[in-house]
């Protein structure tokens, strides 16, 4: 069983990155003091970065870095994130896999919003997955990651076996 990297409160996959569910529901529930967005597209987009910065409440540390930089930061022995309790946001399931393959331990992975796309099937109100993503999540689970779908903390979490069942049904 892998240990949570120092300073990481939760790793979340969310196509929308910084939005209301993250700031108004997760931040207080996790008692998080910082947000780290690990996403190449956001890191390269000035407009997206400045809009996100605008929404971050005062007192919460905020960083947007490329995925590779995040992996180096969060790997054992890396410099670690800015805050003592950081919420790490990733855009896609494949980014979580990339972080894991780069040596970042992810004991718990929360899936918040993964939008519909060709090939993806609906497994919860706000999460759509394709077969490749589901098997990637399976691989993470075998490596010791607890995978859950939960948009906001007050919801009951859906776990990987339920996701698989729903995928087959859909």
């Amino acid at each position: 069983m892998s240990k949570t990297p120092v300073g990481v409160a939760m790793v979340r996959v969310d196509n929308r990155l910084v939005h209301g569910q993250v700031l108004e529901a997760w931040l207080p529930a996790l008692d998080a003091t910082a947000i780290l967005v690990a996403d190449d597209e956001a890191a390269g987009n000035v407009l997206a970065r400045s809009a996100m910065t605008l929404a971050i409440p005062p007192g919460v540390k905020f960083e947007v870095v490329r995925l590779q930089a995040a992996a180096e930061m969060l790997r054992p022995g890396g410099r670690g994130p800015q805050g003592a309790r950081t919420l790490v946001l990733l855009r896609d399931v494949r980014d979580a896999v990339a972080l894991h393959d780069a040596g970042v331990p992810i004991p718990q992975l929360n899936l918040g919003n993964v939008h519909f796309a060709a090939g993806r099937k609906q497994v919860s109100q706000s999460v759509f997955l394709d077969a490749a993503e589901l098997s990637a999540l399976d691989r993470l689970a075998q490596a010791g990651t607890q995978v859950e779908v939960r948009a906001v903390p007050t919801e009951a979490p859906l776990l990987l076996p339920q996701l698989k069942a729903r995928f087959v049904e859909a």
Partner: protein, 242 residues
């Protein structure tokens, strides 16, 4: 100008067909259609533009007005051949989520509860007038802000982020929430006094302790169970003592 007015009016129906796959996409495409009709006289081109706007979109329904205004301005650039269509799409996806967070935090979690609490706290003095207190407090902020966001989005396009940043929308939130907490206290006092009015100090104490107990257990119980327990407790003590 006529088209812009219609776009703003249709923005009021942004969530009419909210769906898990595209969220506010149908509402957005429908709202921007009058502007597209002016920009793309050829129906086939126009249908293509509408189809572009059927991509995923979600935001706070009020803050979306800024993005809608900005999208109209960017569509003008696209129609004039000054920019590729992708700029509209990337503008929408860059601003949607963070603006949603701003709107959720300010309107849903600060202004609305505070306006409602102000109404509940003034009801003993104003009677039916308290309904107007709620509607006026809320909409005197909501409607002008929504209009300003739409106009600023249209006039400034990408610059709307700076304009919203300078408006410091979120800076009033802590003050609003403090007012809300104080008003909630006043409302609680009203419940206590009302139960205790005709010389029933025991009932007043009972209600006061139920407020504290409910406050402590609500996160675990949830509102529905808490209300049923309250109804049961009330039945028992009501029959005995009141």
């Amino acid at each position: 100008m006529g088209a812009l007015g219609r776009v703003f009016l249709r923005s009021m129906f942004l969530q009419a067909a909210w769906n898990p796959r595209g969220m506010q996409n149908l509402g957005f495409a429908d709202a921007i259609s009058p502007a597209l009709a002016d920009l793309y006289p050829d129906p086939v081109e126009r249908a293509k533009a509408v189809a572009r706007h059927l991509e995923f979109f979600n935001c706070h329904p009020y803050l979306a007005a800024a993005i809608l205004g900005g999208a109209v301005r960017l569509e003008e650039r696209v129609a004039n051949g000054e920019a590729p269509p992708q700029i509209v799409s990337s503008f929408k996806s860059a601003l949607g989520p963070p603006f949603a967070a701003l709107g959720d935090g300010f309107f849903w979690l600060a202004l609305r509860p505070v306006a409602a609490l102000a109404a509940a706290a003034t009801q003993p003095f104003l009677g039916m007038g308290c309904v107007l207190v709620f509607l006026v407090l809320y909409n005197a902020v909501h409607l002008p802000v929504r209009l300003w966001l739409f106009a600023t989005g249209y006039l400034r396009a990408e610059g709307v982020v700076d304009a919203v940043a300078r408006a410091h929308m979120a800076s009033g939130t802590p003050f609003l929430k403090a007012c809300g907490a104080a008003l909630a206290g006043a409302v609680a006092a009203r419940g206590i006094l009302h139960a205790g009015i005709p010389g029933r100090p025991f009932a007043a104490l009972l209600v006061a302790s139920m407020i504290v107990l409910a406050w402590a257990t609500l996160p675990r119980l949830g509102a529905t169970r808490a209300v049923y327990i309250a109804l049961g407790v009330g039945l028992v003590v009501g029959a005995r003592f009141l």
